[in-house]
Symmetry: C3
Subunit: 672 residues, 3 copies
């Protein structure tokens, strides 16, 4: 699938533009469009008055020209008449001020009126189009996000809490409400967090975030129910984003396909390697949610208009970044947007068709070239990613560790730490899943759990069992600190991981940005590492309780105390890093570990810096994407297996050369 968000409702008075769009879509090799995303005002210009005719004509044009549509429900932005007539649909911010009409993605997910209006229009769309030959799926709303603090939502939050805790006693205990006399004696006393009210009770903040996810999923389900009936087989997705506020794993059950919107800032530095690895992390994350191919629902064919600086894509980058998504499991490349709008806040956002209106632009040519390549790769669609490593990345933990008021309030750098561990596998061409602690651990050889601050008894026990049965676990400082209520484990950190890791973490120190410590590797350590590495930001003072000490601190009053340990448990092993270590260490450490555990790499070879390889397989053939983000031409030595170019079909030698921003898709026999 290759296509874009398409907003013909902006050009209804320019029929020639609409005609020309079809011609240009074919020229660009685009076969699927997301339509209707912000069309509520065009579909229901007055309350109860519906104007579907333009959409009828559009879908007919599509059907006649072999173009398909993800049909959107238009709830991402509501018409002005609704905001005016029903103030309740407008979101109330944490400061308890109700929004005026404007912008988008700011309705109340609880409002009965909004739910009613959404269901009504969704139902009519489904009735009319769910069996239309051009329609291939539902695009539910757009980039869900944010929270509402209106009275409806307050009441819903209290219901949610009542259902979770049963009694106020239990809630007070979980929130440790005796602190600062915050004990609740009536459910009505509870409100959502507010800057001018309660904002520092961690359990309260955490439950509010959980509630917001549940509320959003519930709204999404409400939308889906309104469209399902007319054609239950039509797949449903909603486009996700790099949003911290929603635990996307909770959407897995209500959606058929995961899709997301990727907007990296390519060329911010002369070397795109770190950014490419971060994008890879998100592709892996979204793929792992359902454990199957996802869709790249939005990306820009050139630049965005809302980042601090709008750089152009260099030659090759459009092909490279689009195929990167495919390499990690995407079955589509779609854009925001097909054609630039003439006015309003995204008029300079990159598009396939620019204001100039014709195809004779660099961007259009890049898109058309990709279209041709994608049609040559159609057999990749549906192919699987097989990962033996998983990174543990829980939204609950992410929220809690950053809300914690602990060792480094000026920056605990949770995500950056997770990215750093993931990056070490990416640069080795090792496929990685990104999972939650409730997911199945059984299929992995190695689980990496950086800063698993929130780790309940059950998750701890599951990790213990994983190691006992032969798995390898890598964990770090500031793990096993609180349970799922955000209450500290008593009796010694890392709490439920203490036995698995074989250490007791007595104290933890934050370092200033200007502070440095280091670690010294022990002579003859089993990983064969040696010398010193820099440590910073966080130093935990741990005691070994049976773990082998692989490295010790180099500086401060705790010089000589354990900084890196290895514990044997059952059939498996558990490593513990007591301090934050740099890319140099992680690269050396994981390179050794990959060999020791025998993890499969996409290509069994050493890749140059900035180059990665990622594989997908359909069981018969493997498709290996070799990608160069290093900012200059680089040769890559392959592993001696027989490869052909998946796009051209030509035989590839064992040494290929990737230009700057270059990418090759190679095909080989699976298990060859």
């Amino acid at each position: 699938m290759h296509g874009a968000d398409y907003n013909p409702d902006q050009w209804l008075d320019s029929p020639s533009v609409l005609e020309d769009d079809i011609r240009l879509m074919k020229l660009a090799g685009c076969n699927v469009m997301s339509i209707g995303i912000f069309s509520w005002a065009a579909l229901e210009p007055e309350e109860g008055v519906f104007t579907f005719e333009w959409m009828d004509r559009l879908l007919e044009r599509f059907a006649n020209n072999g173009i398909y549509a993800w049909l959107a429900t238009p709830s991402g932005a509501r018409p002005a008449w609704m905001s005016a007539r029903y103030p309740e649909v407008r979101r109330v911010e944490a400061n308890r001020v109700r929004n005026l009409h404007g912008m988008r993605h700011n309705h109340c997910y609880t409002s009965p009126v909004y739910r009613e209006k959404t269901a009504k229009l969704n139902g009519l769309l489904a009735e009319r189009y769910a069996n239309h030959p051009a329609v291939i799926g539902w695009h539910i709303s757009n980039e869900f996000g944010g929270d509402c603090h209106c009275d409806y939502c307050q009441e819903a939050f209290r219901d949610w809490l009542r259902s979770k805790y049963g009694t106020l006693d239990e809630l007070n205990r979980s929130w440790w409400a005796s602190f600062w006399a915050h004990t609740y004696t009536d459910w009505k006393q509870i409100e959502s967090p507010a800057p001018h009210g309660e904002f520092a009770v961690h359990g309260h903040n955490l439950d509010w975030r959980r509630f917001v996810t549940d509320r959003t999923v519930d709204f999404c389900r409400h939308e889906i129910e309104a469209v399902r009936g007319a054609n239950p087989s039509l797949p449903v997705t909603t486009n996700m984003h790099m949003i911290e506020g929603l635990d996307y794993r909770k959407f897995a059950d209500v959606l058929d396909v995961i899709s997301w919107d990727a907007y990296p800032t390519w060329h911010e530095r002369s070397d795109d390697t770190r950014l490419a690895a971060e994008m890879a992390f998100y592709h892996d994350l979204f793929r792992s949610i359902k454990g199957k191919p996802f869709l790249l629902m939005e990306s820009t064919p050139s630049q965005t208009n809302w980042q601090p600086v709008s750089k152009l894509k260099q030659p090759g980058m459009h092909m490279l970044s689009s195929l990167q998504a495919v390499a990690h499991g995407s079955d589509s490349v779609q854009y925001f947007q097909w054609r630039k709008s003439r006015g309003s806040s995204e008029k300079f956002h990159g598009a396939v068709v620019d204001h100039v209106g014709h195809e004779h632009t660099r961007v259009f040519r890049d898109v058309a070239e990709l279209g041709a390549a994608l049609s040559g790769l159609s057999e990749v669609a549906g192919a699987a990613t097989v990962a033996e490593v998983a990174i543990l990345f829980d939204w609950d933990n992410r929220w809690a560790v950053k809300d914690a008021q602990g060792p480094r309030n000026m920056g605990i750098h949770y995500e950056e730490t997770v990215y750093a561990h993931h990056r070490a596998f990416w640069q080795n061409g090792v496929a990685t899943d990104v999972i939650g602690s409730a997911d199945d651990f059984g299929k992995y050889k190695l689980i990496v759990a950086p800063m698993l601050y929130m780790c309940g008894e059950e998750a701890g026990a599951r990790l213990e069992k994983f190691v006992e049965r032969g798995g390898v676990l890598v964990s770090t400082y500031w793990s096993g600190i609180v349970d799922e209520r955000d209450l500290c484990h008593l009796g010694g950190f890392p709490g439920p991981l203490r036995k698995t890791l074989g250490v007791w973490a007595e104290e933890i120190e934050g370092l200033y940005d200007h502070d440095r410590n280091g670690i010294v590797l022990a002579e003859g350590n089993p990983l064969g590492l040696s010398g010193e590495y820099e440590a910073r930001e966080i130093c935990e003072l741990v005691h070994s309780e049976g773990a082998e000490v692989l490295a010790s601190y180099a500086e401060s009053f705790y010089a000589g105390r354990p900084a890196l340990t290895l514990n044997a448990l059952g059939e498996g092993k558990a490593y513990y890093m007591a301090t934050r270590l740099g890319d140099d260490f992680l690269s050396d450490f994981y390179s050794k570990l990959i060999v020791e555990i025998g993890l499969r790499r996409a290509v069994e070879t050493k890749l140059p810096a900035g180059v990665t390889a990622q594989a997908r397989t359909n069981g018969v053939d493997d498709f290996v994407f070799v990608m160069n983000f290093g900012g200059r031409e680089q040769p890559v030595e392959l592993d001696g297996r027989a490869y052909i170019d998946a796009i051209t079909g030509e035989v590839a030698g064992n040494r290929i050369t990737l230009g700057m921003n270059g990418v090759r898709v190679l095909k080989r026999r699976a298990n060859g």
Copy 2:
């Protein structure tokens, strides 16, 4: 005219202070005071109770001592009783919260009560003083600015829109309201921009800013109407400031004289050159509004008290900075303030008379010295500035280009770019007007239009005609992008300037602050420039459509593509800079152009760095101000014409020496 804002109402219980003020004014050579600016509480202490007696006595004292007054209408700050009794007079901010009483310049320009109270008091002042021998003009309010979002203003905004657009369809089209379903179906749905409502519809923002200017002009006109009747011949002004929010050109018709308040931060750096050029820009801008001499209504005789750091004026700087205003067309030097107040928020703002209360201070001596010089320059009053160059600087464009969400949201640096182009003429001693795109182009040989992002069809056609008839145009990247509705031109940028400039701008890239590119001059280019210059921030990828390529990019994937072009059209020429270039380039480029076009300089000689010369003429004599902002003594070689010192009457040699912060006013025969 030499004088200051004078607030005797602060000292009514110290009659000796008021007596001493008259003595000191004479001693300082001050002959005009602005009075009554914040006197509403002193003039109407209770609603309907008026106390003019102190003003009677003041004006009598003035008349008896040869001192004149700009009589202010006191609407800049209202009495507390009015805020308490009539909440509607208090402004409502964009967050829809009504101000409490306090500060100043924060009334609602629409409030019927405020208009009524203002008209009433203005009328009484006019009745009593409009024919007083000491009164020479009206000082309407003080530094108008800001906006109000109350219900009255919302209604006025809707009326303004209705009158502009006629139909909602037309408004929706102009605002591109189909984007994000923002189509309005009832005028009542429209509100002013708000941080918690609509803030990213460019047409909406732009129209709000235009409305705010119109509303403010309308209030100003309302004030003027209340004073005009009693003596229609008394001139009217209002003091302007470096305010972005008001299109001051719209005030031209209602005012007789333009006046403004200048507060540069002298000595922030060891070299004041850039700052001096920026002040020159504003002097030129305010002079150009009515194309005749203006008044410097406020300046500080020493330091302000509201800037980050309050530096003193070095010896000479008071004379230099005051005469700079005169050099660019001011017929006055006036100060805020005559005497320092004992308390409240401006008690440490520089004044002619300090808290010490006597004349034996450095500041007083500097003021008196200037007073003597000004009285020697009385024949300069009314003399004209003749400019052959105009810089195009539209408020509409300024607002739109900064609201645009485009290539560099971290800083598009519009004003800085305009200043930089202006500075190249300033340092060459070339007089420059600063005009709007609706002004007459016919009198200029050269028009410089940096970043003319907003350029409607009509403005584009007028520029095309200007070039065809022999004018020279210099334009830059990011020009001709949107029309006056802020809708993008279709069919290729720079839209209506494409034919004139002979280029098509296909793409535009923002650079990070750490990015650099450069341009390489073509061999044998007609300007005779050579070598390389640095480029940064913005690089446009243009195609020549007939224009000669004078320079090409040095770096990036667009190295070798046009970066500076020259198009011949009719009798004229049009230059285009596709990227942001530094002062070194602008200086070299414009120095060549000045010669090529044959632009007149105030002195036909090369001036040292930091020195400029500016001329005024009465047709018989030219007055040439040679000014040294370079931070050290510098010799200046004149052009061989016969000069005398305009203040002392002595003959000046062809080589003069300007001390640090030095200035000389020279006189010569006009057209000599």
Copy 3:
């Protein structure tokens, strides 16, 4: 006294924890706990329902185990039921929005309901426990602070103003309300400062701050009255903090003992010297409020959890920082907190007992070691500090000079300047009081008054008399500018200090951070200083009026003008620094002055950098604390007198060695 804040109400359902606490307290050498600080919800879970039983049991346990209690009134945080039922108890912020329930320290000090509820519960606590053998004093509320802008407080503010000024005329005069027409004609027009109202009338701001202090003291008195009756002999304190908003001297009369909470960020830099001196300043300040020993009511035994970075205390620092408090006059070392809470916003704040729950931690051992040392120092309790130097530090001045809008709005650095002058004495081991300008000057030989911007006629006259009678005064730029109404002195600065200092300050210039000037010492000046020193930030242009010029400016147009002067008046002398000078100058200057005046030092010897000595005396023995904050081991040469170690009783040689973070307490005969 050695102990901590203790919150057993968080563990009422874990009786074993409570039992173990007693055991651990004894083990740690802790003999006093602050209890009930946030226990309102535990003591009155529903309105009018009181549950004292747990407190009964607690105090009984204490009594049985020789542990004492500071019993807190729980008004620092109120129960949720009160916020819900009586909205008036919730504070209204300056933006006029009433807080929701949450956090702490945010009640209205005026609310009749809050006062009633507080008095009721306080009275019941007093009735029940004021004569309990374990209770040794009252801990009133917790860290009073902040302000409320509700209607009750507005009315109270108006009453306060009416009582202060009598008439609106007098108020208008004092606030210089004629500026910007701010004259009030009805008391009802007056409101507290607000960001969307009045915020720049200095007299208004200042009176609001004074009112807030008076209001807070009044609330504190209200609380005390409710507990006093049951046992008038029980001492009363409230724990203070480094809060700018409250003039703590106004609490002196209502409290029996001063106590405060110290939270330095040790080890932020490799050398803790500056930070240690700053802490010393605050210890001196709090001791000086009542001129007798104070209590260190809170400190952390390891780290906080709310600073930007949470560093651990290095070995020795717990002993050193705790004994520093004792050295400066504290009769206690107490902590927040005894045991870490399991949840909520301070769960990671350092505590004696960690989540691990046992005594085998480094922190516990440090605490126990200190407990042993303190019990060896019991005879120090009650010993006096004798200071011959006083630093003048008025809250009124502090507020006014920072609100002033004057020479350097980007940072006037008032406190930093005061600390710098204090530091010069600290490093010389000279005891220093920190007093207000209404305090007794008679007992000092030297008074240092940095930036005495606000100096009324009376304070000026008292300083003049102090000098005439033989005292030495050191004053600086920006002194004697305004009177206690914040109105400028007329007739020449430094106003009432002009005769004393013998200078007239004509102008004052702010410098940018990148600007530098310097001073050149005059040959043969009486202090024997020579060479040049750097000056920055502020340069005042003064004229000597009889003062001897000791140094002159090195740069700028005022090079050669006086920068440091000495005036003889009566029996005394007055020095004036016209510019901001660095630590190097202050160190040299005060070292000379100490010798010249003959000020006593704790040890008559030169101390190495980072080492200070502070003495307390009971008239028979002196206790000398020698402390090393310099970040490395250092030898100290004593002064030849006979010393023994106060803790061990061993004889100390004349040369002692202090390890990194080392401290020795030495005892000698008083007046030996």
